[in-house]
């Protein structure tokens, strides 16, 4: 019984992890059809920001929930203005340029922070579930993710910004006909996506030692989650996070963590092959 | 099954809309037929169904080409049977020259040795000589259409299927096209889908009128184009 509880929590945690780390990428992809391969590095930057703040005496919750998103959001703004905005509509070029950006950021962070792992202690301690010791921080992550998804849904549904965003998902001309400059909308969207990635990085910072190359761990899974999920930002990301996360954890428990990861990757290939436009379908309406 | 093209109860639905409704169509050898009808009548969908551009299943009906059941075939297999297909959306290789486009098409059927000769013949027939070395992407829309027709014809198909071949062509080009189609018709069966009434009148063939996914009427061009029922279908659609 306790074991079932542990497994369930681990599955929930995995789903939350995938959803949280994919949210930023999903927004940018769902609304702008931009695949940002530097997304993992945005997450990593969020982590570094949080750790830097903590080491300078700033409250950790403040650092991870506020400072990290703002800082990385600003970075996203700069990136959009200097690189992304020249490449709209050029899907492959965007992937290549952002891959270059990811390498650049890794290089920069290595330059500034060096190549040894930095870390920060988890603010919430563990608890007992029957005879198993659980990390309490995982619960916090699940809660943050749920709150975040609800907030995103509410924002999309009930705010003016959300309406514009949903218009943007249909196309730039829709946004323009609503009276808004698509370029500005894209600029804010990309920054928002970056901010979310920073938030994810901040929240995840206490988990393990952070290295400049940590972004690599996030990008692969986030990428797979978003593409498998399809164009719908929230339902797509959530549904693929649920499927992939569940499979990952179940197989991990049954066999071996590495096999669990591989199973998740193989499942993604199968899903993509069967549903080439993702679970929530209809990606490139005008793609060639 | 005596026709060169035959459909049985051909049906195509998109969501709740029935675009092609249990159509029974037949084309005889060496016949030239025009398919006309207002927008949304289903003629282009019908065209795509018989050219393998949709993945058809048994419930969609049957399509036969010279007796062979090609219902579930894909496009390149139908082409390999000996059909030449020009789609509604122009499909040429803009980054290559006219000659290269034609050569690639000719090569598939005539082999390396025969391709050059076939290209020369078609160039003369369609008067593409001046544009041979130019990149297709640089040509006008009408010229590109002509090149595409060249790509189709250089394979010497015995069944030619053209979806809106006259779109974007100048008056002179349309006249040339009519001559070309009449010329091919001497050795091949031809189906032409188009909106342009003048063009259809010039071709002067048997005409099949589509309306709301089904065949409304069929007959020689002169009588069909003057048929009040047909006119009303067009006018009615425009008003609605």
């Amino acid at each position: 019984m306790d074991y079932a509880g542990v497994v369930t929590l681990e599955i929930l945690y995995m789903i939350a992890f995938l959803a949280l780390t994919s949210a930023g990428l999903a927004i940018v992809f769902g609304m702008m059809r931009v695949i940002n391969l530097a997304h993992g590095e945005f997450v990593m930057l969020g982590g570094y920001t949080t750790i830097a703040c903590y080491n300078n005496g700033i409250n950790i919750y403040f650092a991870m929930l506020l400072v990290a998103p703002v800082v990385v959001g600003l970075v996203g703004l700069i990136v959009e203005r200097s690189i992304i905005r020249f490449l709209y509509g050029r899907m492959i070029d965007t992937m290549l340029a952002t891959w270059g950006l990811s390498l650049l950021l890794i290089g920069l962070v290595t330059l500034i922070f060096g190549n040894t792992a930095v870390s920060v202690p988890a603010p919430i301690t563990g608890y007992q579930l029957g005879e198993y010791q659980m990390g309490g921080y995982n619960l916090f992550i699940i809660l943050v993710t749920v709150a975040l998804l609800i907030a995103m849904w509410a924002a999309l549904r009930f705010t003016r910004a959300g309406l514009i965003a949903r218009g943007a998902m249909q196309g730039a001309d829709v946004v323009a006909s609503l009276g808004y400059d698509p370029r500005k909308v894209y600029m804010y969207t990309f920054s928002a996506g970056a901010a979310l990635s920073g938030l994810a990085g901040g929240v995840l910072a206490p988990l393990t030692g952070l290295l400049p190359s940590s972004g690599g761990a996030y990008i692969a899974k986030a990428f797979i989650t978003v593409i498998t999920g399809g164009a719908a930002v929230i339902s797509g990301t959530l549904s693929s996070a649920v499927i992939l996360g569940t499979v990952n954890q179940l197989v991990s428990f049954a066999a071996h963590p590495v096999i669990g990861e591989i199973a998740m990757l193989v499942l993604a290939i199968i899903l993509l092959r069967l549903m080439p436009t993702g679970i929530t379908g209809r990606f490139f309406r005008d793609g060639t | 099954m005596s026709g060169v093209v035959e459909t049985q109860e051909l049906t195509m639905r998109f969501g709740g809309v029935t675009a092609v409704d249990a159509v029974n169509f037949s084309l005889r050898e060496r016949e030239l037929r025009c398919l006309i009808g207002p927008n949304g009548a289903g003629k282009s969908t019908f065209f795509k169904c018989i050219t393998g551009q949709y993945a058809l299943r048994p419930e969609n009906g049957r399509v036969f080409i010279r007796g062979a059941d090609v219902t579930e075939w894909n496009t390149h297999d139908i082409v390999r049977l000996g059909a030449g297909i020009k789609t509604q959306v122009p499909s040429v290789m803009n980054g290559l020259t006219v000659e290269e486009n034609l050569w690639l098409s000719a090569r598939r059927v005539h082999g390396w040795a025969g391709a050059g000769g076939a290209v020369e013949e078609i160039t003369a027939e369609l008067q593409l000589g001046e544009q041979l070395r130019r990149l297709v992407g640089e040509l006008s829309h009408g010229e590109r259409q002509m090149v595409e027709i060249g790509i189709v014809l250089v394979q010497r198909p015995w069944l030619v299927l053209l979806d809106e071949p006259a779109a974007g062509m100048t008056g002179n080009e349309v006249e040339r096209l009519v001559d070309v189609i009449r010329h091919i018709n001497q050795t091949a069966s031809v189906i032409v889908v188009d909106h342009d009434m003048e063009f259809v009148r010039m071709l002067g063939s048997r005409v099949t009128v589509f309306h709301q996914g089904a065949i409304l009427t069929e007959g020689p061009a002169t009588s069909v184009l003057n048929d009040p029922v047909v006119r009303e279908v067009y006018v009615g659609n425009r008003a609605a």
Binding site: I92, A97, W99, G216, F223, L265, P276 | W103, R108, R133
Partner: protein, 350 residues
């Protein structure tokens, strides 16, 4: 064929010059570094052929490089003589590519998704191989070794004489010869109908289909051939490094080869080769100091190339050269310069 562009033509003058340089290089410098540069050039050539001429962009071409390396190592440890392992280093990646390729191309998977799926394949291999530490993971006598890889295996030997194995100068000459031969093979493919159909597929796949060509079959074929070439490069790499680690499958390796190709020039054969040699050399130089990180440079290069020189350096230079030539001869031609790189729409189709 009168005016088909010169993709299939070999410019023998340049080729002989390159051969001469490769032959004489050992007289001026130590061959250890040039050897790996030539190997990387071969790897880049295999991707450049597929991407530049058939329009197939694989984000995980490193998978086949790695499979070639591992196939060679495992086989040579088990067999003891290197002829069969060498062949396996090409056959194993080719077989995997045939399966993956068929799955993708017959399923009409396009651009972006092909990128994702190929990325996933190399990721899976990387994760799997990294976790194979311990005695349980063996193929025959070969322990896979997990993250630390497989050291200490026989290098290539003269067929039939396992005692006479290569390292140092002979390895350099073998790599140079292989590169030159593969280059010639690529040119030969491009001059055949097969190569021209590939270009047609790159330009307009639907139209090729309408001409009656079996497009998925062509794509799978070239994908397989290029995987075999990458595998061969992997085998040579294993011989040069004398160790095989999962790093060959890594995202880093996958990114590097892509950057070499695109920086050097998409749509040419010489571009990827030069890109690999130049950037590979830069990487080795940077590796010897710690101030500027290699990632930084590669990343910056990629961004600059994508933003500024989308077709890569070699085509850009060729345009400059062709323009200068035209000016020199006072011609105002229609752009059919002697070195047309076939097709304006090289990379982007959206």
């Amino acid at each position: 064929m009168r005016s088909w562009p010169s993709v299939g033509q070999i410019r023998w003058g340049w080729f002989l010059l390159a051969t001469a340089i490769l032959l004489l290089l050992p007289l001026v410098t130590d061959t250890h570094t040039p050897t790996v540069l030539l190997i990387w050039a071969l790897f880049a050539l295999s991707l450049g052929m597929m991407w530049g001429y058939a329009g197939l962009l694989s984000f995980g071409h490193a998978a086949y490089f790695g499979l070639g390396a591992y196939a060679y190592a495992v086989a040579v440890i088990n067999i003891g003589e290197s002829t069969v392992p060498l062949i396996l280093s090409m056959l194993v990646p080719a077989a995997v590519a045939a399966v993956v390729g068929a799955m993708m191309f017959y399923g009409r998977i396009s651009d972006v998704y092909m990128g994702v799926i190929t990325l996933l394949v190399t990721l899976i291999l990387f994760k799997f191989m990294s976790a194979t530490a311990g005695d349980a993971y063996v193929i025959g006598d070969a322990r896979l070794g997990g993250f630390n890889g497989m050291p200490g295996f026989h290098t290539l030997n003269v067929p039939g004489y396992p005692e006479i194995s290569l390292f140092g100068l002979p390895t350099y000459y073998v790599c140079a010869a292989v590169l030159l031969i593969c280059y010639l093979i690529c040119r030969w493919i491009l001059a055949r109908s097969f190569g021209r159909v590939l270009v047609g597929i790159r330009e307009n796949e639907a139209r090729c289909e309408l001409m009656g060509y079996n497009v998925p079959a062509f794509k799978t074929a070239i994908f397989t051939v290029c995987a075999a070439m990458a595998g061969l490069a992997g085998c040579l790499f294993a011989n040069w490094a004398e160790i095989v680690t999962p790093r060959v499958f890594s995202l880093g390796q996958a990114a590097e080869v892509l950057i070499w190709v695109i920086a050097g020039g998409l749509g040419t054969l010489i571009g990827p080769i030069l890109g690999a040699i130049a950037l590979g050399y830069v990487k080795l130089l940077l590796g010897e100091q710690t101030v500027i990180d290699n990632s930084l440079v590669l990343g910056a290069v990629l961004i600059i190339v994508v933003l500024g020189i989308p077709r890569g350096v070699v085509p850009a230079l060729q345009s400059v050269w062709a323009a200068a030539e035209r000016r020199a001869r006072g011609r105002t031609g229609s752009g059919q310069g002697a070195r047309r790189t076939l097709g304006a729409s090289n990379r982007e189709r959206t």
